[in-house]
């Protein structure tokens, strides 16, 4: 379909704007715009149709099953959209005086209390914009903590398991730390021997996802915590998989000192085609003085912002964080109340059910019950029929499913990382299982159907190598390159690299 720019026509417009009867002053000539930006010129009917059409070419949770591992694609209740649109929230300026924002401040304070309870840690900052920023903030807290203790120069290393999400090492570097990698053992737990060998006085901390990205709870977590705490280091909990353990096991109780939440995962912020998210952090008392400013505090029955935190690392984002995300997640948690545990129970039940039905047809690298998600390998399909994880993913689209995360975690070859979430009915899980089994069958019977999949989408497999090579990243108007003229790719090349998570 056409780009909106390709539909533009000079003089057409979708907006009607007020024109006060006032003179418009001249701007200094050297600052004035020479050429107007070539924004779309379409009428309102065209505008609505264009974006409606784009929407129908987008697959969301509302469209169907979306078992994208590590992303917790659960149902997004519409009541959350209703409350976030209340004018008292939506049209509230972030610099409003505190006495004109008591409702917003109270909501944030309440959410902090809830997150502290779920984490099992006393102090919360809502400020980080997403999990990755929560990580970075947590690492900055480590820095500040060790600097305060005079260990800032010695503790330079952060331990990261080989199953870690890419954000973990990336955050480590951005925080000015160095990565120390540790391995996963045969049961899918952290390799304790490897760990013991690597943790020392230069270690600032560990970053761990638990359950791990393999969907497995680290059975040695108590020992892991002891190793780090014994060495004077801290433990950071990557909360991406918290959906498995709410009310079942608390990161603080596991020994973690810093935790981030992915509100968009565990607490159902709609993912919006890529965002927004929310990455609040919870920490132990010892780390609280370093938390970002402002803190949201309660004084009797008033709520206020506290900037008076001399040891604070500062600000990591504007204002108090993504407030609308807080409203949605607060609403979500209040819909469960103390029964939040049930959310995690069903997430784990759903995952184990799908696992039970698929474990024989695919390969299961770690032979255990899983938590809220699990990772299969398509290695056998690849060996026997040349069908890769990528092929399975593409073929699933023809069955109207969003594919799982693939090629992640990196320790599993041809990984298929499947996270059904708690909101799916058994019927959907069964249909997905049938499709996955049918694909195994097809791999043997008619592999080319899979290789050429998807067959049911507006485009076939797209050439990712061409995209990266030509780097056409915006519309070029008259100069827009005609890739077609340069010849269609005989066989579009996709990267067999992580897609999802």
């Amino acid at each position: 379909m056409k780009l909106i720019y390709e539909q533009s026509k000079t003089g057409r417009r979708a907006s009607a704007l007020p024109h006060p009867d006032l003179p418009v002053p001249d701007l200094p000539a050297e600052l004035r715009r020479a050429e107007p930006p070539r924004l779309p010129e379409v009428s309102q009917p065209e505008l609505v149709r264009h974006f409606t059409k784009l929407a129908t070419r987008t697959f969301g949770i509302d469209t169907g099953f979306y078992p994208l591992g590590s992303c917790t694609m659960k149902h997004n209740p519409r009541v959350n959209e209703r409350v976030v649109a209340l004018p008292g929230f939506r049209d509230l300026h972030p610099l409003q005086e505190e006495d004109g924002a008591q409702g917003a401040l109270e909501l944030m304070w309440r959410l902090q209390e809830i997150l502290a309870e779920v984490a099992g840690l006393p102090a919360v900052s809502l400020q980080p914009a997403a999990g990755s920023q929560g990580e970075l903030t947590g690492l900055m807290l480590m820095r500040a903590y060790f600097a305060d203790r005079g260990e800032g120069d010695t503790r330079r290393k952060v331990v990261i398991p080989d199953t870690a999400h890419g954000t973990n090492p990336a955050s480590v570097t951005m925080a000015g730390y160095e990565v120390t990698k540790v391995e996963t053992d045969a049961r899918g737990n952290l390799d304790l021997d490897d760990l013991r060998a690597k943790v020392d006085a230069e270690t600032a901390g560990l970053m761990l996802t638990n359950p791990s990205t393999l969907g497995l709870f680290d059975e040695g977590i108590e020992e892991v915590a002891a190793i780090f705490h014994g060495a004077g280091a801290l433990l950071y909990y990557d909360g991406a998989n918290l959906n498995a353990v709410c009310g079942i096991s608390r990161p603080g109780d596991m020994g973690f000192d810093i935790v981030h939440f992915n509100l968009h995962k565990t607490f159902s912020q709609p993912h919006g085609g890529g965002g927004p998210g929310g990455g609040p952090i919870a920490v132990r008392e010892a780390l609280e003085p370093f938390m970002p400013v402002p803190a949201v505090v309660r004084d009797g029955d008033r709520f206020r912002l506290d900037y008076d935190r001399p040891q604070s690392i500062g600000k990591v984002r504007g204002f108090c964080g993504p407030f609308g995300v807080f409203v949605r997640s607060y609403a979500y948690i209040r819909s469960y109340g103390p029964a939040l545990r049930e959310m995690s129970e069903v997430a784990v039940l759903n995952a184990n059910y799908v696992l039970a039905r698929l474990r024989d047809a695919y390969e299961l690298p770690y032979d255990r019950l899983c938590m809220h998600e699990f990772v299969l390998s398509a290695r056998r399909l690849k060996r026997e029929h040349g069908i890769t994880a990528l092929d399975v993913a593409k073929r699933l689209m023809d069955y109207d499913f969003h594919p799982p995360t693939i090629y992640f975690p990196l320790v599993v070859p041809e990984a298929l990382m499947i996270e059904p979430t708690e909101t799916e009915p058994k019927e959907t899980l069964d249909e997905f299982v049938e499709a996955m089994l049918a694909i195994v069958h097809e791999a043997a019977e008619e592999p080319e159907v899979i290789k050429e999949a998807p067959h049911s989408r507006p485009v076939g497999r797209l050439d990712e190598v061409l995209a990266a090579k030509r780097a056409v990243v915006k519309y070029g108007f008259e100069q827009h390159p005609d890739l077609r003229a340069e010849g269609a790719p005989a066989e579009p090349r996709q990267l067999e690299a992580q897609k999802g998570a």
Binding site: M1, R13, A14, S15, L17, V24, L31, P36, R38, L39, P40, V42, F51, R57, G60, T63, K74, P87, G88, P94, G103, A104, V118, A130, S132, E135, H165, G166, P169, G176, E222, I248, R250, P270, H271, G273, G274, G275, K315, R317, C320, A331, I333, P338, R341, E342, E345, Y353, R357, L369, E424, K426, P454, E464, A471, V472, V473, L483, P489, A490
Partner: protein, 446 residues
């Protein structure tokens, strides 16, 4: 629980298929010592009607721009969000999709991001934009990271007229990046190119804001030239709504253009979620943070869009990535695209002119009433600083008693500007509302 879909019978069948007795058995892998045996100490569950009532009560205790006549700006603006934005953002497909890892069933959102990137490039005069950053502060940190690697230098320079929150965030990130931060004070409300030039020596990047935090127009081309002269990357922090009238940073030599997207398409929402944008000259394309969508073809020669240049990113490059960003702000950026498409070039210009005209009218009326500009003689866009003759916080308090929020007290960020209010005029304000502002200020500050 209405968000859950299993019946009792389903559960039994599923447990049987798994081969365990109870849900509890699934958690056997969790060591006893770390199992939580309590019941979470959370308030009771609320049914949907109760939940709405509870949140309505909370919301009712906020004074918002529908309940109070407000001239607050200072980075977040009460521009009109057109109804089409709500209509399109509420489409379940856009709302509930995630990052388009699998392009064949995500062409809609991919194309939308490509169109967004184009809009940002058009506004800023740049070659490449990513799919969004978190907000207008974090994109500044992103730009530091780009500049650090592009130049190998270890210092960044910030004009003091750059939004204080942006500066604070840069300062929080800088130690981790191994960067020192130097600030250049303003002179009479704007930045002196010569002072900036001096500071820019050996700097990786120089940041300034246009219009600046005081609403004044900086001599932006001169500032960019000063940076370029020193081999530092000039980075302009710009307001998208100003770019129908003000020159694009790419046209006066900037290496990067960044900004807070909120004014284009997002509600104020107590500060978020919004989107930050970051765009650059093509030289820096492979250093850009975050998602970028590119055009390509399928085997049939059909055009399509994919996430591209991914070897920059954390999931492939890990500790060597150009950024750790994963989840971004696509939905808010989509709102920006829809708003900008609604405006078109003509509408963008008109909004700018209306803001400009109203601000000029307000300045004049205030001056007539005895309230002098803080920075006389400086050209402004939609905001300006005015002296109210007494501590500004008290004036705000008193004016709010009359249902008017007159603006932001600059003393909260700038020592010495005790009696200065930063007043903002968007196209939603009217002449009569300006008159009301003047009336109330005259009453409470006279």
């Amino acid at each position: 629980m209405s968000f859950l879909s299993l019946t009792e019978r389903d559960r039994e069948e599923m447990l049987a298929a798994i081969g365990v007795e109870s849900v509890d058995d699934l958690f056997a892998q969790i060591p006893e010592g770390v199992r939580y045996r309590g019941r979470l100490d959370l308030e009771p569950a609320l049914s949907e009607p109760e939940l709405v009532a509870h949140l309505e009560e909370l919301a009712s205790r906020n004074a918002h721009s529908g309940s109070e006549l407000s001239f607050l700006g200072a980075g977040i603006y009460d521009h009109y969000v057109p109804a089409v934005v709500d209509a399109i953002l509420s489409r379940g497909e856009f709302l509930t999709a995630y990052t388009p890892y699998q392009p064949e069933l995500s062409q809609g959102v991919l194309q939308a991001i490509f169109e967004y990137q184009t809009a940002i490039c058009e506004l800023t005069g740049m070659d490449v934009s990513n799919a969004s950053g978190y907000d207008g502060t974090t994109v500044a940190a992103d730009a530091c990271y780009v500049a650090k690697h592009a130049t190998g230098r270890t210092k960044v320079v910030l004009a003091e007229t750059l939004n204080p929150q942006v500066r604070q965030v840069v300062k929080t990130y800088a130690p981790g990046f191994g960067l020192d931060v130097v600030e250049v004070p303003h002179e009479g409300g704007v930045t002196d190119p010569d002072r900036l030039a001096a500071a820019a020596q050996d700097a990786a990047a120089v940041f300034f804001q246009q219009p600046n935090f005081f609403g004044c127009l900086e001599p932006a081309p001169d500032l960019a030239a000063a940076a370029n002269e020193a081999g530092a990357l000039p980075v302009a922090h710009v307001d998208p709504i100003s770019l129908g009238l003000l020159e694009a940073p790419g046209r006066y030599g900037c290496a990067l253009a960044i900004g807070e997207g909120q004014s284009a398409g997002n509600y104020q929402s107590y500060g978020g979620p919004h989107y930050g944008f970051i765009a650059a000259r093509s030289d820096y394309i492979r250093r850009m943070p975050g998602r970028i969508v590119g055009e390509t073809l399928d085997a049939a020669g059909k055009r399509g869009y994919v996430l591209t240049l991914q070897t920059r990113e954390q999931h492939i490059r890990r500790e060597k990535a150009t950024s750790n960003i994963t989840t971004n702000q696509t939905l808010l950026a989509l709102a920006g695209l829809v708003h900008l498409s609604w405006l078109g070039p003509q509408g963008l210009r008109e909004v700018g002119e209306t803001c400009l005209a109203l601000a000029e009218y307000a300045k004049g009326r205030l001056s007539d009433a005895g309230f002098e500009p803080m920075f006389p003689g400086q050209a402004t866009f939609k905001e300006f600083a005015v002296r109210v003759g007494r501590p500004a916080d008290g004036v705000v308090r008193a004016a709010r008693e009359h249902g008017v929020h007159p603006g932001y007290p600059l003393r909260r960020d700038y020592a010495g500007l005790e009696d200065a209010l930063l007043v903002c005029l968007t196209e939603k304000r009217t002449q009569a509302e300006v008159d009301r502002l003047v009336e109330v200020l005259a009453e409470v500050a006279a």
